[in-house]
């Protein structure tokens, strides 16, 4: 029987769906007789608090115009008294951009251990324990929070838990006040939306994705040829975009575009969680990679282990021949 708090993330006027995955994790950790609470911050969030109260036993609603924009630095100040009051055995956040911004500082201020980017959570005796991916996903690490009686925090990887269905809990909504000393140190200037690209890859049925394996910009030509033969659009992993070889609108992943193709051909891509997180709708995934141990082969349907400079032209030629 444990008390678990989930810190909800919001996107403008809506809740981030990830909060319902955290609800699943929180219920499992709380166990029978345990209670799960949520905290939500923002301005004019009455509706969001009510939505959360259908799944959580208690909802702490921090509603204040100074919280209008999510701010990891300021939100930590707002939440600290709630955590410092004690009583939570575990505090969960999504390992997304807000969690990365908020959790480390909050954990230090609250004096709580923090398990980052967990794929799984459980209790090891009285201590929160979890499994996380390290070394680019090639290895998993089992980690345990030190026992100290303070409770522990964890950030949870998106998709690690199935989202809880619509709840019927009728939880209590508590209006939470900001601490008197609340003084946000970040001044938001403007929020920028990603620029739309020439090709809207969210609509593409076939995608050829190119990763760091192409090594230089010339490698792009090779992959363009394959995309043309397949009648596919070209997209990329983040490093290719960071180098300026393709526009940001071509980046697939958690910090890029979410795509729903029927066919996804990944060329020279290792298959990081952040990249794969942008691929929805269970496409047929083909991987071409020279590393047999690359995590991409754990998610692809079919793959060729080999050097892309040989495999890609050969595949293009074979497809062209097939078309006759």
């Amino acid at each position: 029987m444990k008390q678990v708090l989930v810190i909800a993330e919001r996107r403008g006027a809506v809740l981030d769906e990830g909060v319902f995955e955290l609800l699943t994790a929180a219920r499992a950790l709380a166990g029978g007789g345990g209670r799960v609470a949520a905290a939500v911050l923002g301005h004019g969030i009455g509706g969001l608090a009510a939505e959360l109260a259908r799944g959580f036993d208690r909802v702490f609603a921090f509603d204040d115009e100074r919280l209008a924009e999510p701010d990891g630095d300021g939100d930590a100040q707002a939440l600290l008294p709630l955590l410092a009051r004690g009583g939570f055995d575990a505090v969960l956040l999504a390992h997304g951009n807000l969690g990365i911004d908020l959790a480390p500082g909050l954990s230090v201020r609250a004096g709580m251990p923090l398990l980052a980017d967990c794929l799984e959570l459980h209790w090891a005796g009285q201590s929160l324990a979890g499994t996380r991916a390290v070394y680019g996903g090639k290895v998993h690490a089992r980690v345990v929070a030190a026992a100290g009686g303070t409770g522990a925090m964890a950030t949870v990887r998106g998709g690690a838990f199935a989202p809880a269905g619509p709840g019927t809990v009728a939880g209590e909504v508590v209006a939470a006040a900001l601490p008197a000393e609340f003084a946000p140190r970040r001044r938001p200037l403007r929020t920028l939306r990603p620029e739309a690209g020439e090709v809207d890859i969210t609509q593409s049925e076939r995608l050829v994705a190119v990763g760091r394996g192409i090594e230089d910009e010339d490698g792009l030509q090779l992959v363009r040829g394959l995309a043309a033969a397949l009648g596919a659009d070209l997209c990329a992993s983040r490093p290719v975009v960071d180098k300026g070889w393709l526009p940001r609108s071509c980046q697939v992943g958690t910090s890029g575009v979410t795509v729903r193709p029927k066919l996804y051909v990944a060329v020279g891509i290792s298959g990081s969680f952040q990249h794969m997180g942008g691929i929805k709708g269970s496409p047929f995934v083909v991987a071409i990679n020279k590393d047999r141990a690359a995590p991409i082969f754990g998610v692809a349907d079919v793959g060729i282990v080999g050097d892309l400079s040989e495999v890609v032209p050969a595949l293009e030629a074979a497809i062209e021949e097939q078309k006759g």
Partner: protein
């Protein structure tokens, strides 16, 4: 302006066959190549650019053993002015909090306007050290920066936020910024560049030098214990098309046809 950049030496994972060491708590490192963490390369570049614009001193710091000197040399070759190696057997087995504790003890005695970290490492990948260090230093922080300008005692930072958006925010100095990949295009470091800084003295500091008790750092000072490493469960594996290149490609075309891809 005084700029501090925290960097870590990490193994190159792209094509490496990884083997877990006998104690189950690390990797067998004999066959691995090491380099600066990808995100820290962006942090060093940002630090050096700030110096080039505003004048000042860039100090690179790492917690590591003597092998970690090579990433400090790399930072010096990119334009850092001085480097500090935090090296002590007592630092072993540190969790991100204990690493942040060591960095904090070093940085608190130095003048600084901006501290730069990478957003995350490619090995431990927790993305915690920067935010924890900022809280220990009690300075404002901004995570996942994709743009950074400093002017008149304030930093204007563009960073990645909720829902795939970016936000531009302003914080007063001193502050801590964590660099997301793509923040800049890091300059090329030649072997010659490294050779030029071969004689620059690197200051080494032990826990004692930093005024830290051995129980405050390393495994003893950690809040999270690494129980062990394991290989991920096999799960679904792709059908790997073996044989000659022509045979593999022919089968792949077949699969694509079956799946309506052609």
């Amino acid at each position: 302006m005084d700029i501090i950049v925290c960097i870590k030496r990490v193994p190159d994972l792209a094509e490496a066959g990884l083997e877990i060491a006998a104690d189950g708590r690390g990797l067998r490192t004999e066959d691995l190549d090491f380099d600066i963490n990808e995100w820290d390369d962006y942090a060093v570049e940002a630090a050096v650019r700030l110096k080039e614009q505003h004048g000042g001193v860039v100090t690179a710091i790492t917690v590591g053993d003597e092998d970690a000197e090579e990433v400090l040399r790399r930072a010096l070759a990119m334009g850092a002015d001085q480097a500090i190696l935090l090296d002590d057997a007592a630092f072993a087995g540190a969790d991100p909090f204990a690493i942040a504790t060591a960095l904090h003890a070093c940085i608190r005695s130095l003048p600084f306007d901006v501290v730069l970290c990478g957003a995350v490492t490619s090995d431990g990948a927790s993305g915690q050290v920067g935010g924890m260090l900022a809280a220990l230093l009690d300075v404002p922080q901004v995570a996942l920066a994709t743009g950074l300008e400093v002017d008149g005692g304030r930093a204007r930072v563009r960073h990645e936020v909720e829902g795939g958006l970016e936000r531009e925010v302003e914080v007063a100095l001193p502050c801590l910024i964590t660099a997301q990949s793509g923040l800049n295009q890091p300059r090329y470091v030649s072997i010659r560049g490294i050779r030029k800084v071969a004689d620059v003295a690197i200051a080494a500091r032990s826990a004692g030098d930093l005024g830290l008790a051995a129980t405050a750092v390393g495994e003893a000072g950690s809040r999270v214990r690494l129980e062990g490493l394991l290989l991920p469960p096999a799960g679904k594996r792709a059908e790997i098309l073996e044989g000659s290149l022509d045979a593999a490609v022919a089968t792949l075309v077949e699969r694509l046809r079956e799946r309506g891809g052609l």
